[in-house]
Amino acid sequence: MNGEAAPPGFGARFLAFPDLFPARRAGESWGDRRLAFDLPGGPYLAAGLSAAQAAAAEERFGELCRPPRAGDGDGVETRLFAVAPSDFLAVDTRGWEYALDFDYAPAAVRIAGIRLMARIDWARSLSAALWTSEDGGAAGDLFPGIFENFLRVVVAYRLLEAGGLVVHSAGVVDAGAAYLFLGRSGAGKTTLSRMSERAGRTVLSDDLNALLPDAAGGLRVEKLPFTGDVGERRKAAPPFPLALLLRLEKGAENSLQPLSKAGAAAQLLACAPFVNRDTHRRELVEATAAELAGAARAGVLAVSLCGGVWDTLRGGTP
């Protein structure tokens, strides 16, 4: 590892030696396995995996994961490297909400977490690297979660390059179009997802969904395998046109009100994880949120506990 000046506190919760954070995409590979992941903005190519890591990734991502093939060359390249367990601190996560540490720089983003160090670099194009001590083979091994956390961030930055955002939201398909429900934790995204699923609708994810511009000037929603409690991680889905972008609120009764373009942009900005705190890309993030909001139909959906949300959505046009 090469030394690189760390900001005060960066990685201190997770890393034994924050000052020795890798300065470039280099190190000892876990193995020679390579995989491609068909996620929005991809493919995402991962190289340097061990056999156990590859098996764990295949188990986690199912049909979204495959061997690389000709034509994947324009994908986002990521490399995995091995580091010693002693490079990481033991973390007591009881009663603690896990959040990665970020260090944003003009040409790179550094990330530290539980048994992970990662960086995203912009040279000719976006590329990424992950250093971990987890080989994916042992029972209780943290590799699947570590790799997914890493991918979440990489995809968020890749979509930003493509004019889109990863949006903290519940994504539900109804009549061939996707509704994105945005809201703070506790606003009811998972509850609404469960209700929708029970009523026969497809839930893309109750946690993170991809929102992208389409060629016709509209917006499309693409499924991400990053779910909370509801949503299928392992199966692919086609893109869906965006029906409505909805700020979700709790209410005494169901209601649907219009949301201004600025209100929609603010919601998207607040719900764009990882990139919305990047001080070096905030102009791009804000412009992207405004652009997407300008193309979206948006509303404020108040939801009661009495059901009937979809009747409300079909009955009123914001």
């Binding site: 600025a262 942009a265 603010a266 919601q267 705190r277 909001a293």
Partner: protein, 101 residues
């Protein structure tokens, strides 16, 4: 009512205000999307508040801001002057503007 007789919470029409250093804003369809970076908070301001935020340069008193806005809003001057002071007070209370003098 003269401009000097109009007062808000700790400010009046002679007060000069500027944007807090940790805010960023962008006008979308007439309304401002404001990011308070220190608080990691995003707000939306209506059209009048958005214009106040744009005009608050730290050098012009609120009376000058009201005069500038007079051409944009069909409101009686004394009403607009009062609204500007009240609105500026709200923006100060929200941590978006700070008093220069």
């Amino acid at each position: 009512m003269s401009a000097h007789e109009i007062t808000g919470p700790g400010i009046d029409s002679t007060t000069r205000l500027r944007r807090q250093s940790d805010i960023r804003f962008r006008v979308v369809d007439g309304e401002a999307v404001v990011v308070r970076q220190g608080a990691a908070e995003v707000l939306v301001l209506n059209e009048t508040a958005s214009r106040l935020l744009e005009l608050a340069d730290g050098t012009s008193p609120l009376s000058a801001l009201a005069a500038a806005l007079q051409a944009e809003f069909e409101v009686a001057p004394e009403v607009l002057a009062a609204d500007v002071v009240a609105g500026a007070g709200e923006l100060v209370a929200a941590g978006l503007l700070e008093v220069v003098g």
